[in-house]
Subunit: 360 residues, 2 copies
């Protein structure tokens, strides 16, 4: 077992039975390759925006600082672009067929981050101030709007005869993404959210765009319906695993690594998956959690540490870690039933395992 | 001369020489027909949204009150849908070929209204509280996002073999619309905006979507490039005329008719076209205006009445009214040089004159 996997085990609670989720040495280099392929194309399209939106987007994407000076930032893990290019390759096309899809899903992802930060009032992301915190709400709304419109342009400018289908897929995914965010916001006001509702919310908020990312390259390549369907299911399951890990890192991750303030999800009483599991399955600890949640005190860090202990005592941590593994298994299974190139399929699976093992 | 045209003359200042802009009896019925064709299709698509966004959008579109009870509201003038369906007809196709375009441009228009109201802090539109004023900023951002994504879906679900080109046109128009809004916001902080800059801003903020509206039906119909180009120019010029009239109504219109608070553009020191003309061309009155604009006093209604007088004394009112007529003439000219069905062309021109003569 690698050092990384050992650390992950420690992070995701000792009670989880060991699972076959090695970090494939390939994943980081697959992600790096995708980022290298996508960033130049993304820059070309960002340059179409008005100067202000382009400058703000370049900052948000990690390319520049607030003054516009180029930085060494890499702008995130490039999971979605990697899925999109692998998706084209899995369908037998070259990676470049998937690049417009890769750029477009990354733009939609970043549109949603910029708008979410406004709505959640989050002042920090990836160790840096968020767009609205630097330039204000108006600029954040407009930059997000510009990125969303641009994503469609990227696809519709592609040479693929299937560009309309790809654009259709992305527009629908965006609608589901918004639906998930609407539910997430509504859940903050409710104390009776079921685990099923919470999983549905996550399917929209995180699953829809990962599903589209994993399918869009194949769509651009004109792949048959069953291949597109399998990749779409792979991405949807991966999306839920992704969110489960995100939620775990939000409670038990290292803020110095994640770049998010410690316990921020708990502080805002967000109905994350581990918390919702604990509330709905967790005996005395779950009931104590429910009482805390119904209150309105501004919790201090010691209170939040206690809340995290309750989530764990009620089984939320173990369940989330095990469920992430189950979703990765389901994602992997989805790829088994259809004809697909072996190399890209292995890389897709490597990324799935990488996502569960990540620390940020 | 009709009673309406006489009232318009009174509204747009006596010094403007009489211009050939009769309100064709056809325009209101053309608009009504377009609305009747587009609303059922729009409802079908709005139903795809999550329940919350659908309810908020239905309120914003004038179909329901805040409690979701159906109202008799008609949700605006339907100028953009009328242009889109006439655009298809001008190219020799049936109106229904343009309907997906009509629905899509109306959704983009309403996305921008919902977001603009957040950014401008406007609490009232069409005599009713704005979305953010009822449901808060987060819901307004999400509803706008949902409408923008849905607009693309509408086009990409159409049966037209040219749907990708239509979607491309709309995405690009959205980018220009955002650029215009970015400039509009930036101009609020500046005292040295030139008339040229202001016209460029309006070309984006209002012109881009009207241009797309006037061209999208022809694109869906597979019209030749010169026809699409002529319709696009028609819409772009019409957009500037539209904004000029909007700006005039914002200062000298009747708030009971426009549904906007009296002098709201002046109060917020917005760089509208008549104000910018007055500032940059207006001798002593223009200089007095510039001094007022550089100040930061919260003006009372008497102050704002004085400011409106200064804009008029500096020539801003006359220029804007005459410029609107010139833009309508340029729009009409654009349609003359290309082969096009005579009936739809006449209806397009009737709408152009209707826009200049409108009072709300």
């Amino acid at each position: 077992m690698t050092a990384d996997a050992l650390k992950t085990e420690a992070l995701f609670a000792a009670e989880v039975p060991p699972t076959p989720a090695p970090v494939r040495p390939g994943a980081p280099s697959v992600l790096r390759r995708a980022r290298d392929a996508v960033v130049p194309a993304t820059r070309t399209f960002i340059a179409r925006l008005d100067e202000t939106s382009a400058a703000i987007a370049s900052y948000h994407l990690g390319w520049t600082d607030t003054a516009g000076v180029p930085t060494r930032g890499d702008g995130g893990k490039a999971v979605r672009p990697a899925l999109a290019t692998l998706s084209a390759q899995a369908a037998g096309a070259p990676a470049r067929t998937g690049v417009p899809g890769a750029v477009a899903v990354e733009l939609v992802h970043n549109f949603s981050l910029v708008h979410d930060d406004v709505m959640d009032g989050d002042t920090e992301r990836r160790h840096r101030p968020t767009v609205w915190a630097v330039w204000g709400t108006t600029s954040a709304i407009l930059t997000g709007d510009a990125l969303l419109a641009l994503a469609q342009e990227v696809l519709l400018d592609s040479a693929s005869p299937h560009r309309a289908a790809a654009a259709r897929l992305l527009a629908e995914a965006t609608r589901h993404l918004v639906r998930g965010q609407v539910q997430d916001v509504a859940f903050e006001q409710r104390c009776d959210v079921t685990l099923e509702e919470c999983l549905e919310m996550v399917s929209g908020k995180t699953g829809a765009l990962l599903s589209a990312s994993a399918a869009i390259g194949a769509v651009l390549a004109g792949a048959p319906r069953d291949v597109v369907g399998a990749l779409s299911t792979f991405g949807a399951q991966l999306g839920i695993a992704f969110q489960l890990v995100d939620d775990l890192l939000g409670i038990w991750g290292d803020p110095a690594v994640t770049g998010k303030p410690v316990f921020s999800d708990l502080r805002s009483r967000k109905k994350t998956l581990p918390l919702t599991y604990a509330l709905t399955h967790g005996g005395p600890a779950g009931r104590e959690l429910a009482r805390w949640l119904a209150g309105s005190d501004m919790p201090g860090e010691a209170d939040l540490r206690r809340v995290a202990e309750l989530v764990e005592a009620a089984g939320g941590r173990d369940w989330a870690a095990a469920e992430a593994q189950r979703r990765i298994a389901a994602a992997t299974d989805a790829l088994a039933g259809v004809p697909m190139r072996a190399g890209p399929r292995e890389d897709l699976i490597a990324i799935a395992h990488f996502i569960v093992a990540r620390e940020a």
